[in-house]
Each structure stands twice: as C-alpha cells, then as structure tokens.
Symmetry: C2
C-alpha cells in the first residue's frame, strides 16, 4: 500500500491530483497547496527550490512513499534538490509531458507555454530535446493565463480571452508547431480557447502525462483505501471554495500548516 | 533627522516611495519589497498580517522613525497589529486615500478598485464613510489589473486593455460615481485607460495622498542625506530590472533578506 504525496503552489495542482485519481482510483493521497506563497511562476529558482523543500519535508513527516511535484515551475527548477534530500521517489510533471509531446509530434516542431519561471528554466526545452533528437522547441511565457483562469474568464467566445490567447500564441503559430505542451496546471482550463487559436495542433496536458507515469511506476493497483488529505499554508476557506472545481469531486476539509 | 521605513508586497510600493521622495527630496528611506511572497491581494487577512509583521520587524531592526505601509492590502488588514507591536508611528495608504476621495467628491458616490483582499476587508468603504457621512461607496476587485500592469499591457489603445478595464468598471460607471480611488499601487500604471472608461470622474491615487500626509507629519524638511536602501525577499535581480520604472530614478543595488 502506497501513499502518494503531491504538492503545488496552490490549487492548480489539483488537476494533476484528479488525473492521478482517474488513473488510480483507490490510491491514498496527501496534497499540500502552498496557498500562502502562491504563485511560484514569477519567482526565482532559488526561492521556488526553498519553498519546494519545505513543502516536501511537511509531506515526508506525514508519511509518503512517493512524491509528485504537480507544479510545473517547481518541477522545472527544484527536482535535483528534492531528489537529493528525500528518501522516496520524486516525479515532476515536466519529464512526462515532454516525452508525450516528443512522441505526439510529427514534424518535431513543438511549442511549450508556461510561467516565466518554467520557460526561463529551459527544463521543458531540454527534456523535449533529450526525448527527441533534433526537435525544435518554441517556448513562451503566458503570465495572464493564470489570472484569467482564476477569474473564470475562459470562454473561447469571450473577446478578451480570445485576444489574450491570440497574442501569446501568435509566435508559436507563426513558427508552425504541430504539438503544444500546456506547461502549467491552470492552462487546461483555457484548452478550448487555445485549441481555437492553433487548430490542428495536438495539445499535451502534463497532468495526464504524469498520471500515466505514476500508474506505470506503482502498478494498476497500489492498494489504499481512497483516503485523501489536504494541507494548505493560507487559511483553508478559499481553498475549499474552489478545490472541488479543480479536483472534480467534493473537498470538505483542509488543514492549515505553517511551512 | 528621520529615516522612513516603507514596505510593500513587491515593487508596486515604489510608486508610493516615489511620491514620498517628490514631497520630501532629502528624506532617508529604507524600502522592503516582499518579492518572495508577492502578491498579498489574493491572500487571507491572517497571512497578510503575519507577513506585514515580519516585514516591519526587519525594518525596525535596521532603525526607522516612521513606517509607511505602501501596500493597500496590508494597509487594509494589518494596521492594528502593526501599531500594537511597533514603537514608531505607522501610516497606511487607505486612510489618506479615503480622505482625499471624500473631499474630492461632489455627489458622495465614490468608487474604489483594488485587490480582492483590499475590497473584502471593507477598509476603504468604512474609511470613506467615516470621512464623509452618507457617502455611497461602490467597491470592486480587479484581479487582472496587476498582471496587465506587470506585463506592460497598459496602452489605452490596446483592445485587450480597454476590454478588461471596461468589464471591471461597468458597474461603477453604471452607479454614477464621480470619484474613483485607485486602491492598489499598480493601478496608476493603467490610469490613462481607466480615465477613458470613466470620463469626468476624479481619479484618486493613494500614493500621492499618503505622500502629502507623510510630509504633514514630518514637516517640509525632515533632514536626512537622501540615502535610500532597498531590501527584497526574493533574489534582487528581477527587482533591480524593474525598480527604476516604478521609482522614476535608478536603483542600482538591493539586499536580499530572509524574513
């Protein structure tokens, strides 16, 4: 029986949690959302690494057999430090997403969108090139996508949504990509608007990619009683108000922790 | 001779710093930007209060005679806790901005825009009603304004900027306000687009309001050598890259501190 620890900068990682539960319905999980210090995507690699280590230590003390880093930014910059310190296997969302994209692309021209931290780190770019020699990767930070998704402005019929998506994706569209990695947990909420802007392009959701990898590692039936615990670093109320929408099932309690 | 301490969640408070320097050119100042935990506007009053106390302690240890809370959200929720703990006078941006708005309005219908934390706290609403009996205050959170300003998307000719501003301001416009408080340090960067959307409405910049109040408290000539120190909680590089734009003069060094 394995208990999977998952952390993210806030609520976005619940989309990864959801994909893991879809793949492994009986798994036991414990999720930490660092809601007091969200977002990570605009901060330095040093600070994100420090926060990631603190989150991981809290989860390790609670007892986990496996750690999933659901946050793309933390996955992009903090995996080496996490692996050096933790005694359990650590999986980030970047490598699985990069591998799925490398396989899905016909032309080898692959786009990546994410936070400033994720794009600046170059982690997706090098992971894709490792998975597919000669791949041409065009990466772009889309800082307005997270606030748009959190505001609930995601309707592809909304002129503001279409305008923002078109502006960010223009260089990727111009470069003729055939595959696009949604390299931030919030971006799948904008999938419909993104798809309209880059018709025919395969969209890779890293939440699904990592869920498939977790299942591969743990086997189809990791045991467990389907128990799910939630920890947050800001007060639980706001997390509880939106968690259900991201997780796709009710979240009724979350514990506040200082990290 | 007085040294003024100023803190904010990040770089936005430099617009307040700038207004204070315009009012008191020879003042000595020390500014702390909590860039590792920015933004405050989406977080709970408890968390913002805890961060504000930590920031204030760092500044107090460095030696200050006066503390300016440049962040609207922190001013809205943390002043009582700061005043209870600190030995020096503490001034926030909310009260001065509210008083200027109360005086500027002819009709008593006053709008306030700010972060979710500032608007939810009700601090501007009650400060305006204290300053002007019978005032009708219409407040609205505008979560996309900060990322728009940070992205540099502020041109009133930009369809996305106009669209976002129009959507947030529609209820204020509909309510017939004659005065509007820009209750977040980033919002003055969008002043031109905001002015176009609510023509004839007086825009109150709380940075200017607090600078006038600081000058009143300290007198025209507080002494000092015009020395300005900067502290940040994330790495200094990104702060230094944008600080000059917000402060209106070069910022060449900033010290990293853990708070």
């Amino acid at each position: 029986m394995s208990r999977i620890g998952i952390f993210d900068s806030g609520v976005g990682g619940l989309t990864v949690h959801r994909a893991i539960l879809d793949a492994l319905p009986s798994a036991d999980t414990i999720y930490l959302g660092d809601t007091a210090r969200v977002p990570y995507g605009t901060k330095s690699a040093e600070t994100v690494t420090q926060y990631s280590l603190r989150n991981a230590r809290v989860l390790a003390r609670r007892g986990i057999d496996f750690l999933v880093v659901a946050c793309n930014t933390a996955s992009a910059v903090a995996l080496p430090a996490l692996r050096a310190e933790l005694a359990v296997p650590v999986l980030g969302v970047v490598e699985p997403g990069a591998r799925v994209a490398a396989r899905a692309s016909r032309t080898g021209r692959i786009g990546v969108i994410g936070t400033q931290g994720t794009v600046s780190s170059g982690a997706y770019q090098s992971a894709i090139r490792r998975a597919r020699e000669g791949a041409e990767v065009i990466a772009r930070a889309c800082p307005l996508f997270v606030p748009l998704a959190e505001e609930g402005w995601t309707d592809p019929g909304d002129a503001i949504v279409r305008g923002v998506v078109a502006r960010y994706l223009a260089p990727l569209r111009g470069a003729g990509i055939d595959t696009l990695v949604l390299g931030c947990t919030h971006y799948p909420l904008l999938k419909a608007a993104i798809a309209l802007e880059v018709p025919g392009v395969v969209l890779v959701d890293s939440a699904e990619a990592i869920a498939a990898e977790v299942r591969e590692r743990l086997g189809d039936a990791p045991g467990g009683a389907g128990r799910h615990d939630f920890l947050v670093t800001d007060v639980p109320e706001k997390f509880l108000a939106v968690a259900g929408r991201f997780l796709g099932r009710a979240v009724t309690s979350a514990e506040h922790v200082d990290v």
